[in-house]
């Protein structure tokens, strides 16, 4: 007769945490925390509808990435919850919380990013190659939005220069044109002009070749140690830290090297408000608001004294001012 001894430490099947719950554990804890805090604050009011952080819609699966850590920059980082809930990504709606609310089912795999145009070796990267083709490193960059707010974000990715060099650009490559995915089925803002803010899609951006090859110019595939969520431009987006945020195009499917300055989305929409260069410049105001200072979004509520002076080239002047040596930056704003 077989006698089965069961030790008290043996776990049975029903005691195992469901994998989905396990993978989601940080999110769950966070939600419990925020829900708890919110319910303490506001017991009788519609806290659910007002409290964005307890929003259970952040269910897009992000994966951990291996990368080389950035040196400590002593900068106070913007909390991850804020970075992923305060986005301008009109493809998913024009309000700051729309992108998170409307993008959680966005499909990033399969993905194809093509590098083409004035190059000897055009190529295409698929989803897995975005994370494997080049070694990933962390960059802690300030992001200054043209709307006069800013964040400090730990991106993961690789320099754009590496990707371009691999394609062996020809001498005709004077500019780089970028394009976001066009998929109105997945992006409600592309399907409806009302939701998408009246923009002609696909979203387009561009850089001069020397700007694109600058070591600070970065392609991000992750933030805070994990792959990007859709609202931040998954699976791959541009980050040009000395330019206003709208230059840092999201969810890129095409990078084309071209001879002439390419048309860019916000410049096409309102040329007197948004230039091609869009370098952060406290001297040149937006026609409708001052660019001399900004509000740095980190922690703290209404009472956070977070208004700081805006620096030329967002504080990266030492590295990039030489690119614009003989240019009138008031004219080429």
């Amino acid at each position: 007769m077989l006698i089965k001894h069961i030790k008290s430490s043996t776990l049975s099947e029903h005691e195992v945490t469901d994998e989905a719950t396990y993978l989601n554990r940080r999110q769950l804890l966070k939600q419990f925390g925020y829900l708890g805090a919110a319910s303490l604050l506001a017991q009788s009011m519609p806290a659910q509808s007002l409290d964005f952080f307890s929003n259970p819609k952040t269910h897009f699966q992000r994966h951990d990435l291996a990368y080389q850590q950035a040196a400590d920059t002593q900068q106070v980082l913007t909390p991850e919850a804020k970075i992923i809930s305060h986005n301008n990504f009109y493809e998913f709606g024009t309000s700051k919380s729309d992108p998170m609310d409307n993008s959680q089912t966005f499909k990033v795999n399969p993905w194809q990013l093509s590098i083409s145009g004035a190059v000897d070796k055009p190529y295409v990267l698929d989803y897995d190659q975005l994370f494997r083709q080049f070694p990933l490193e962390e960059r802690i960059y300030r992001l200054r939005c043209v709307e006069a707010w800013s964040m400090v974000i730990p991106w993961l990715g690789f320099p754009l220069a590496q990707l371009i060099k691999k394609a062996a650009p020809t001498s005709r490559a004077k500019f780089v044109a970028f394009e976001t995915l066009y998929d109105p089925k997945q992006m409600p803002g592309q399907a409806s002009r009302r939701i998408g803010g009246g923009i002609d899609y696909p979203y387009r951006e561009g850089l001069r070749i020397d700007e694109a090859m600058h070591p600070l110019t970065f392609l991000a595939v992750g933030l805070y140690g994990k792959t990007l969520p859709p609202q931040n431009g998954a699976p791959i987006r541009l980050v040009v830290p000395w330019k206003y945020g709208f230059k840092s195009i999201k969810s890129i499917v095409g990078i084309k090297l071209v001879e002439r300055q390419p048309p860019t989305t916000w410049n096409m929409l309102a040329a007197h408000e948004y230039g091609f260069y869009a370098n952060v410049n406290p001297e040149v105001d937006h026609p409708r608001w001052s660019q001399a200072s900004e509000r740095r979004l980190t922690t703290g509520g209404l009472l956070a004294r977070n208004r700081i002076a805006t620096l030329p080239f967002n504080g990266y002047g030492e590295e990039v001012a030489k690119l614009y040596k003989n240019m009138d930056l008031r004219k080429y704003f």
Binding site: A47, H86, S97, M151, G198, G301
Partner: protein
């Protein structure tokens, strides 16, 4: 009971019923206007209102104040259409709440957006047309709020109505302020402008008399 006494009794009962209706309506207005405002500010102070609580508060007070102003302007046409004169008794309350939201909007801009940088505050009002327009509208609402007390109303006599006609100018300016403040999505501001124009068109005769 004589028929006169009977009539008086019916009249008193009716008056009481109307008074209670006005009282209830005012209670609803207080709850609907005041509670969300308190909720927004308490969440914003605790950093539980999205990544940028300042922007959230600015939008909420701006749109909320505009909604209340439109509601205020709907009272008279409603009262006329449905012969419900008692509705006029809540018009001042709605107007004052609209002003209060506007006041929160301006004070939040000063305290949380420019953070008491008075030089920047003044410069923004002068240099930014959409803020200039917004401040003009706010100044009108301020004048209307101050002169809304009954004593001043009697003292100003005919001029009171003339002054309070400026609420139509304020409504147009606020629609314009909204239109100019958005980056590209102009549908919502245009819908608001349309609502203002509809409410003004209901007063076509009064306004054309006023302009003459």
């Amino acid at each position: 009971m004589s028929s006169d006494a009977k009539n008086t009794a019916i009249f008193t009962v009716k008056a009481q019923r109307l008074r209670r209706r006005v009282w209830l309506l005012k209670l609803v207005i207080h709850c609907a206007a005041l509670l969300p405002l308190l909720a927004i500010y308490s969440l914003a102070f605790a950093d539980q209102l999205g990544a940028d609580p300042v922007k959230a508060v600015m939008h909420f007070t701006g749109i909320g104040g505009f909604n209340l102003l439109l509601l205020t302007l709907t009272v008279t046409p409603l009262a006329k259409t449905f012969r419900a004169g008692y509705l006029l008794k809540v018009r001042r309350l709605l107007g004052l709440y609209s002003f209060s939201y506007g006041l929160c909007h301006v004070l939040s801009f000063l305290a949380f957006e420019v953070q008491f940088d008075w030089r920047l505050f003044v410069a923004e009002i002068i240099d930014r047309p959409y803020i200039t327009i917004g401040m003009t509208a706010f100044t009108i609402l301020l004048a209307l709020a101050i002169t809304s007390v009954s004593a001043l109303q009697n003292k100003l006599g005919k001029n009171w109505q003339k002054l309070h006609n400026f609420v139509y100018v304020a409504a147009l300016l606020i629609a314009w302020h909204f239109y100019w403040s958005v980056k590209s999505n102009i549908v919502e501001p245009l819908i608001y402008l349309l609502m203002v124009l509809v409410l003004l068109s209901l007063r076509k005769q009064k306004i054309s008399r006023w302009l003459r």
